[in-house]
């Protein structure tokens, strides 16, 4: 046996280590499930207060699980929004421990402070009730930034051919995965101080569309995002980029728009002069 480089003692030792490890994890989990989370949840509308609930702790528990537990087991009058639970729909964003996050993919263990959580509605949006905000203004600003597609082809025309490696397609790709959760909008200091500012999400969408070679409303869009209610108001502080759960970079998109719009105003663009 020794010739083969194998010592039976090692086998027992490693088994002991593995056993100890599992025992530790088991003890840890048992400990965790015995400690209730102290969860402060915003109740009310624009005026309201935080109410504390005790929620049992589970392994792999998400913040959305916590809110759902409160609504189903403790207080059915709690209002909040969610749909997909897997980070696709963008409806469950809330302010958790002071920071805007998507709650369905935020594990309690990642952000819990001691045994406390504070869950509030998103900032910079009017509160309807409890954790549900009125997002009309947020989406109206997408419309305001001409953040929608308009082409000039019909079903009788051939497919548009967009080279996947073309610079425009690559730039559009970088910002296209936005789920419209509002985390960037609620984290933006400029939105906070300038209520008319279009905000990172709308401008990011506008930027992806300025890189859509099929779109026919480019000059309208550049006019809509110009000036101090649009891209030029951005302070490049980068909170949107830091907080975006999809790891997009609205700051970079807005920088792209600033350059594009300013050039179009001074020198003109391939679509004409502003």
């Amino acid at each position: 046996m020794l010739d083969m480089g194998f010592n039976i003692n090692y086998f027992f030792i490693s088994q002991k280590i593995i056993f100890d490890l599992f025992f530790t994890i088991y003890r840890y989990n048992e400990l965790m499930s015995n400690t209730d989370l102290k969860v402060k949840v915003w109740r009310g509308a624009q005026e309201g207060e935080f109410v504390e609930y005790l929620v049992p702790r589970n392994p792999n528990q998400t913040v959305l699980d916590v809110v759902t537990f409160i609504q189903r087991k403790l207080d059915p009058t709690l209002s909040y929004r969610f749909a997909c639970r897997v980070g696709m729909c963008g409806s469950c964003a809330m302010t958790v421990n002071g920071v805007a996050r998507w709650t369905c993919r935020t594990h309690v263990s990642q952000i819990v402070e001691g045994d406390s959580l504070e869950i509030a509605p998103l900032n910079n949006l009017p509160v309807i009730k409890d954790l549900a905000t009125d997002m009309r203004e947020f989406f109206n600003k997408w419309k305001g930034a001409v953040g929608f597609f308009k082409g000039d082809k019909t079903r009788h025309d051939d497919f548009a051919r967009v080279e996947p490696q073309s610079p425009e397609r690559q730039l559009a790709n970088a910002g296209i995965e936005c789920i419209g959760c509002g985390v960037c909008y609620s984290s933006c200091e400029v939105v906070q101080s300038r209520p008319n500012y279009l905000g990172p999400a709308a401008l990011n969408r506008a930027w992806t569309l300025t890189n859509d070679v099929r779109d026919v409303q480019q000059l309208d869009r550049l006019r809509a995002v110009a000036g101090d209610e649009g891209c030029h108001a951005c302070h490049t502080q980068g909170s949107c980029t830091e907080r975006c759960p999809k790891k997009l970079e609205p700051t970079a998109s807005i920088a792209g728009l600033k350059k594009l719009v300013a050039r179009a105003a001074v020198r003109g663009s391939k679509w004409g002069k502003l």
Binding site: G227, A262, R263
Partner: protein, 120 residues
């Protein structure tokens, strides 16, 4: 709507002007730092420094470009800060215009002074 639009286009143009002047300032500040080392090499009195910079037209042109870049850059920034902090209107326009004129006059006077050594 038309007025809002022209305001937005004006903002875009001002942003462009500020960006280009920032690029020029970036180069100017670097060169300026090198010039400081050159100018103070042989003593720190005004006489000694002016002795090296006086009559040098290259210095004069360079510093006038520096002044012009500041003249474009700083008032736009000040106007933005005032408008964001207080409100749009007369005060921010007036203060940034005053700053612009001061930079231009004082800066150009300084350039002439260094070039001629105050002999004008």
């Amino acid at each position: 709507m038309g007025q809002v639009m022209s305001q937005a286009v004006l903002q875009a143009k001002l942003w462009y002007a500020q960006r280009i002047s920032a690029m020029i300032l970036g180069i100017c500040v670097s060169i300026h730092l090198i010039i400081i080392f050159y100018a103070i090499r042989g003593g720190l009195t005004a006489e000694e420094i002016l002795g090296r910079t006086q009559g040098n037209i290259a210095f004069a042109i360079f510093y006038e470009i520096f002044v012009l870049a500041c003249f474009v850059h700083a008032p736009i920034g000040l106007a933005n800060i005032l408008e964001e902090t207080f409100s749009k209107g007369f005060i921010s326009k007036a203060l940034s215009s005053i700053l612009a004129i001061l930079i231009l006059i004082l800066g150009t006077t300084a350039v002439i002074g260094v070039y001629t050594g105050g002999a004008l």
